[in-house]
């Protein structure tokens, strides 16, 4: 039956869209990063789901089992998780610096300050 067979993927999509929504509608930079990580996690779930075999077990070879899930997506997602945390760390570091430079971590504030500065530069012209 289609409904149950694709339920996982639908969760993936819903999570993805929630992540997107956070990135779009929230002005807070940390919040955006959270949205981003939710978005990324949804992809992890997508990969892991496709590796799953019904009735299988974790791909650690043992005499007792004969059906294993596919290890390849696991490997890929391990890498992807690492990439995700690396990005988050870097993003947070940037947020810290932005906070120091602008005194705010709200997108609107920062844009305003930049616009003001540009206008000033042009006024000097």
């Amino acid at each position: 039956m289609i409904l149950s067979s694709h339920f996982n993927y639908w969760i993936v999509i819903v999570l993805m869209m929630i992540g997107f929504f956070i990135v779009i509608s929230h002005g807070n930079l940390v919040k955006k990063l959270m949205g981003l990580s939710i978005f990324q996690t949804s992809v992890f779930i997508l990969y892991i789901s496709m590796g799953k075999v019904a009735g299988g077990t974790a791909p650690i070879l043992d005499e007792a089992y004969s059906v294993y899930s596919n290890p390849l997506p696991h490997v890929l997602i391990l890498t992807a998780i690492v990439v995700g945390i690396a990005t988050t760390a870097l993003g947070l570091a940037l947020v810290v610096r932005i906070n120091e430079a602008y005194g705010s971590i709200e997108e609107g504030d920062i844009e305003m300050q930049d616009c003001d500065k540009l206008d000033k530069e042009n006024a000097n012209k």
């Binding site: 978005f39 997506p73 890498t79 990439v83 870097l90 993003g91 940037l94 932005i98 920062i110 012209k125």
Partner: protein, 491 residues
């Protein structure tokens, strides 16, 4: 050893990056980085030669052959782009020392060189690999180090630009990841060639389409196709000048390569271009991109931003070439990739020289520069002429091939757009020229010529602009072989 060249190409800068941490002095660092990059350039030249004489090189990593393990696959297409990236990075690096010393605080210079090498390694890794997931990994290496590089800029807006790029870049990369995942889901393989073989037999059309859409959007984000270019102008404008030169000359070009590789090799022509109106979308986006970005460029006061927008416009040309889906179109796009790298490299290096002397590059600062920094200004003008597509420069060659490709396809109506688009370039280049040569400097500023270490690489690129404009045999030959390879592989 020569059998290991493909991998050496990538791991040389990759391993050189941590090695940098062991080296203390900046001088030493710079020389080391230059050396590594130069070595890479030599290797890539050798690779291109080998590929042209004896065909594709396949290198299985870890000794595991293709679908099970990861393979490197060098053909005439990526060998060409490899050469472009490595040689431009070498030239840019040569100019880096003084510019970086001026623009980046002493304590962070080390990180500049490390991040630069990582970025280079990432780009080369994307180019070499024949494995779809590996593309993603190396894409992230290069992206992460790019964010770092951009954030090194002095202006606080560099941080903001870097953050924005981080968000957009991550979304782009994740899209690519999703695309690859969906392909994997329906084929069970990650190897590009294996993918190409298995994709035509796939039954799950919807999934394939979805994966394709994700992938294309992700890559287009990376290559800053209009309207996904919004991250680019700020990132280019506020990054350290050398970084701008490097990114403008290489990063988007590699994204174009990925696009070409997947569109033509992995998905195949039939699927990509005939089953749904991708060419039309691209063509429209390309033309709008050219016009919108050029018009915006006209009114910029920050010169780096001006040329950043012009980069977006040039990407539009490249996409237009690809949208044709003919050998001639792809060849024109490839030529423009190469040529645009040359012109933007030259222009941004010259701007690096200006920033070194003046500390900023705005229209105001340009007044009277024609007399004060004649060589630097001449380089910018030469680059600008090339951008316009004046005959005897590389810009002309690519525009010529592009126009020819359109005519061959019979799309007459597009040709005027291309040519009028380059007229728009005249306008913004002219504004610069007018400012620099025909207006007096308003303050009594004493700006001498840029230092030789920046000027020399700049003029190497300017010379290349003219040389490949007058003697385009090499580029034309290499791109035509690359295109043939592409089209031969997927009949």
């Amino acid at each position: 050893m020569s059998a290991h060249l493909p991998i050496l190409q990538v791991i040389l800068p990759l391993l050189a990056a941590p090695t940098c941490l062991l080296l203390g002095r900046t001088q030493l660092l710079w020389m080391f980085t230059c050396g590594v990059s130069a070595l890479c350039a030599v290797i890539s030249f050798q690779l291109l030669h080998t590929v042209h004489t004896s065909g594709d090189i396949i290198y299985s990593l870890g000794g595991w052959s293709a679908p099970v393990g990861i393979e490197y696959r060098i053909d005439s297409l990526n060998a060409f782009v490899l050469l472009l990236v490595t040689s431009l990075s070498t030239v840019v690096l040569c100019a880096a020392k003084q510019s970086i010393a001026k623009e980046v605080p002493e304590s962070r210079q080390l990180y500049f060189y490390v991040a630069f090498l990582l970025c280079l390694a990432g780009l080369l890794g994307i180019l070499c690999t024949g494995d779809a997931f590996n593309v993603f990994v190396f894409l992230e290496i290069s992206s992460l180090s790019t964010y770092t590089l951009i954030a090194l800029g002095r202006d606080r807006r560099a941080l903001w630009a870097s953050y924005q790029y981080l968000i957009m870049g991550t979304i782009g990369a994740t899209f690519i990841l999703i695309g690859i995942g969906l392909l994997y889901m329906i084929t069970g393989t990650l190897n590009m060639r294996d993918l190409a073989q298995r994709l035509p037999d796939v039954e799950q059309a919807h999934t394939l389409y979805t994966g394709f859409a994700f992938f294309i959007v992700g890559v287009c984000l990376k290559l800053a196709l209009f309207p996904l270019h919004l991250w680019l102008p700020n990132a280019y404008a506020y990054a350290p000048s050398i970084v701008t030169a490097f990114l403008a000359a290489t990063a988007t070009k590699v994204a174009v390569y990925v696009l070409i590789r997947f569109i033509f090799n992995v998905f195949g022509f039939d699927f990509s271009l005939s089953q749904f109106p991708l060419p039309q979308i691209w063509l429209a986006l390309g033309i709008i991109g050219v016009f919108a970005a050029s018009i915006v460029a006209m009114s910029q006061h920050n010169i780096k931003r001006l040329f950043a927008f012009s980069s977006v416009a040039q990407i539009g040309y490249i996409i237009m070439g690809l949208s044709l889906g003919t050998a001639a179109g792809v060849q024109a796009a490839l030529l423009h990739v190469f040529n645009h790298a040359l012109m933007k490299g030259a222009i941004f290096l010259a701007i690096a020289g200006l920033c070194y002397r003046l500390g900023a590059a705005t229209m105001n600062e340009f007044k009277g520069l024609g007399k004060q920094m004649p060589w630097t200004m001449a380089a910018i003008v030469a680059g600008g002429l090339s951008l316009i597509g004046v005959p005897l420069t590389v810009g002309f060659i690519s525009k010529w091939y592009l126009v020819l490709a359109f005519i061959e396809k019979g799309w007459w109506m597009i040709v005027p757009f291309i040519v009028i688009g380059s007229l728009l370039a005249v306008v913004y280049v002219w504004r610069l020229v007018e400012c620099a040569y025909f207006q007096e400097a308003d303050s009594k500023r004493e700006a001498g010529e840029a230092p030789l270490s920046i000027l020399l690489p700049t003029w190497i690129l300017v010379f290349a602009n003219i040389y490949f404009g007058v003697q385009p045999q090499f580029t034309v030959h290499a791109t035509s072989i690359a295109t043939l390879g592409l089209f031969g592989a997927t009949p």
